[in-house]
């Protein structure tokens, strides 16, 4: 396991961690998905970020800067003795998470949960990961047991690249959430193999 950094003399911790993000609109089931696969009950952590408010001062035209607190829920999966996987559900009700650099930095990949009632709720997340070149899959969460949209309809609506996997799921079911995460990891492995082949 790679564990770089040389500024710290002395014994080093033999455990490292990776993270995946679960994104999507408010109420789409992000925390439910985290909870369905996590070995601990989802925890909540908070960060204060500096946000540019919408309100523009009429006189000066200077944008009003303020701070806001963004909370996100996360879970933990022990992969093996030296590797921990963290799943972070992005806060859907806050538009500010898009400004939170640390959330995306170092993320292996992301699941974008699409809401069958409000498909457009996932577009912002899709756009975010595309721009940052973070690999993602789209999972259509059928909370109500009914498939309102087909995989192809979602692919068209979100204007997804052909290689982005899209699937149906029910994140209340552990097996279903597992399948989504497996699909994401397989997608990552395929992309990485292609990247290595190009070298």
């Amino acid at each position: 396991m790679a564990s770089g950094g040389s500024d710290f003399a002395g014994p080093r911790l033999g455990t490292s961690a990776v993270k995946l993000l679960i994104a999507g609109g408010f109420g789409v089931g992000k925390t439910t998905m985290v909870g369905s696969v996590s070995e601990i009950a989802p925890l909540r952590t908070e960060e204060m970020i500096s946000a540019i408010s919408d309100r523009v001062d009429d006189l000066t035209g200077v944008e009003n800067k303020r701070t806001t607190t963004v909370a996100l829920d996360f879970g933990r999966i022990t992969i093996n003795r030296s590797l921990i996987l963290y799943l972070f559900g992005t806060p859907g009700q806050e538009r500010f998470w898009f400004m939170w650099d640390e959330l995306a930095t170092g993320a292996l990949g992301a699941v974008v949960l699409a809401d069958t009632r409000r498909l457009d709720n996932c577009f912002a997340a899709v756009d975010f990961f595309e721009r940052r070149r973070i690999p993602f899959v789209v999972a259509i969460n059928n909370f109500f047991g009914e498939q309102y949209y087909t995989v192809d309809q979602v692919r068209d609506a979100a204007d997804l690249d052909d290689d982005v996997p899209v699937m149906q799921c029910d994140v209340r079911q552990r097996e279903s959430s597992k399948r989504v995460l497996e699909a994401l990891m397989q997608h990552l492995i395929r992309k990485t193999m292609r990247a290595h082949a190009r070298r």
Partner: protein
């Protein structure tokens, strides 16, 4: 990790005053190599008397624990726990895992990805 913390002065920093009381007013971590998933473990050390937040962090870190978990369990914002954790690392009370090199090159290690996939399948 190079955010705009620098620009928080005076009134801008208003809502931050209370959480940062435990850091004695410091709003910037002494080190910039800590992130949400940096793993930490308490180093074997003599018991010394310190502020309760430090003691609590060391108690939590008897097993490998991430910065995010410590923040959640102490109910403190990440910016605050990073400062406290930085103090404990400086004092050699905590060991930490540096960021994984794969995350800097942007091309993840195949073995790592396969390990994560296998781990998920075993759930």
């Amino acid at each position: 990790m190079n955010q705009s913390w620098d620009s928080w002065y005076d009134d801008d920093a208003g809502p931050l005053v209370r959480p940062f009381a435990v850091t004695r007013g410091r709003t910037k971590a002494s080190r910039d190599d800590l992130n949400m998933i940096t793993m930490l473990i308490a180093a074997p050390a003599e018991q010394v008397s310190m502020d309760p937040e430090y003691t609590e962090i060391l108690r939590l870190c008897q097993y490998p624990m991430s910065v995010a978990e410590i923040g959640a369990k102490l109910n403190l914002p990440l910016a605050v726990v990073k400062i406290l954790i930085g103090d404990l690392i400086e004092g050699r009370y905590l060991l930490f895992s540096s960021p994984m090199s794969t995350l800097e090159t942007n091309v993840p290690d195949m073995k790592l990805l396969q390990a994560v996939l296998d781990g998920i399948r075993r759930l």
